[in-house]
């Protein structure tokens, strides 16, 4: 069964995310198969995963942008990292995006550790 993807019809240009999918299913399949133990995937299941990934991108982007708190027109790395830390659903991302910490914070925590050692 052929499914439409990539180039949406002229009619649904305004509702791309609703009617069709923009991510390449072939690439999604490759990524899925690189997961250990995954053997065969039904075509519809692949479609659902691809669409879910799209929704994920939108969800992550919006949550990070709104969660930045400050009046800004930029989405930054730390916005994303912060969202992953604060929102439970995005916790799984903390492995691949360590929150970049400021040098002074790091030095502070070092001092803290040294103090603790001194107590001992």
């Amino acid at each position: 069964m052929k499914m439409s993807q990539n180039t949406p019809d002229k009619d649904d240009q305004t509702s791309t995310n609703k009617k069709t999918i923009s991510l390449p299913m072939s690439r999604v399949r490759l990524i899925m198969k690189s997961s250990p133990d995954v053997s065969s995937i039904n075509q519809d299941a692949l479609f659902l995963t691809t669409k879910a990934t799209e929704l994920f991108v939108q969800h992550l982007a919006v949550a990070s942008f709104n969660g930045s708190g400050k009046e800004t027109n930029t989405l930054s790395y730390s916005d994303l990292a912060q969202t992953a830390e604060e929102k439970e659903t995005f916790h799984f991302l903390t492995d691949i995006l360590p929150k970049k910490i400021l040098a002074r914070d790091y030095l502070q925590s070092l001092d803290q550790m040294q103090d603790d050692d001194a107590d001992f």
């Binding site: 069964m1 052929k2 499914m3 439409s4 791309t16 995310n17 609703k18 009617k19 069709t20 999918i21 923009s22 991510l23 390449p24 690439r27 999604v28 490759l30 990524i31 899925m32 690189s34 997961s35 250990p36 133990d37 995954v38 053997s39 065969s40 995937i41 039904n42 519809d44 299941a45 479609f47 659902l48 995963t49 669409k51 879910a52 990934t53 799209e54 929704l55 994920f56 991108v57 939108q58 969800h59 992550l60 982007a61 919006v62 942008f65 027109n73 930029t74 989405l75 930054s76 790395y77 916005d79 994303l80 990292a81 439970e88 659903t89 799984f92 991302l93 492995d95 691949i96 995006l97």
Partner: protein, 176 residues
């Protein structure tokens, strides 16, 4: 590009596709470059997450192939239940569109005529075409023959006229 190193873990969604989606989701928002790169990697991570979970569910169910149901259950158990309604809708929409397209194209081709009748009509057309071709070929051959004959006759009368002309000359000479 991603497969040049041959390493499976380098597989990611194409950057351009992600950029386009972010642009559509957050128009007029500037997105830092390292943030974009991060989103690309988060996608891969998400896909792995869903596939692993769906795969586990699949294994438990004694089936060999990951089905749509497994994916939906995976989304549910991983806290992405909010996506379920929309992904199901889009799948249904796509199937409906594909079905309509198939119906429409077959309607156009058949015009309500059953297949055997179409085949019969096709054979008729072929036979007619063959006949016309044969007639045309025959006509051309006849024309060629006629042309050849005419040419022969013309050549014959020309040489006859020449001979007649030369004997006339001899007579004239005698008279003088």
């Amino acid at each position: 590009m991603a497969s040049s190193s041959g390493n499976d873990d380098d597989l990611t969604i194409p950057r351009a596709a992600i950029n386009k989606m972010i642009k559509e989701t957050l128009p007029n928002v500037r997105v830092a470059n390292d943030a974009r790169e991060l989103v690309v990697n988060c996608c891969t991570e998400f896909i792995h997450l869903i596939s692993s979970e769906a795969n586990e569910i699949c294994n438990k169910s004694d089936k060999k192939t990951i089905s749509p149901e497994h994916v939906i259950n995976a989304l549910e158990s991983l806290g992405f239940a909010s996506y379920i309604t929309e992904v199901k809708d889009v799948l249904q929409e796509c199937k409906t569109v594909a079905l309509k397209r198939r119906k429409a194209s077959s309607r156009l081709e058949n015009l309500g005529i059953p297949e055997e009748e179409l085949l019969r009509q096709q054979q008729e057309l072929f036979a007619k075409a063959r006949q016309q071709q044969a007639e045309l070929a025959q006509q051309e051959w006849l024309q060629m023959q006629q042309a050849a004959q005419q040419a022969q006759m013309a050549a014959a009368s020309a040489s006859a006229a020449q001979q007649a002309g030369s004997s006339q000359d001899e007579d004239e000479e005698d008279d003088i």
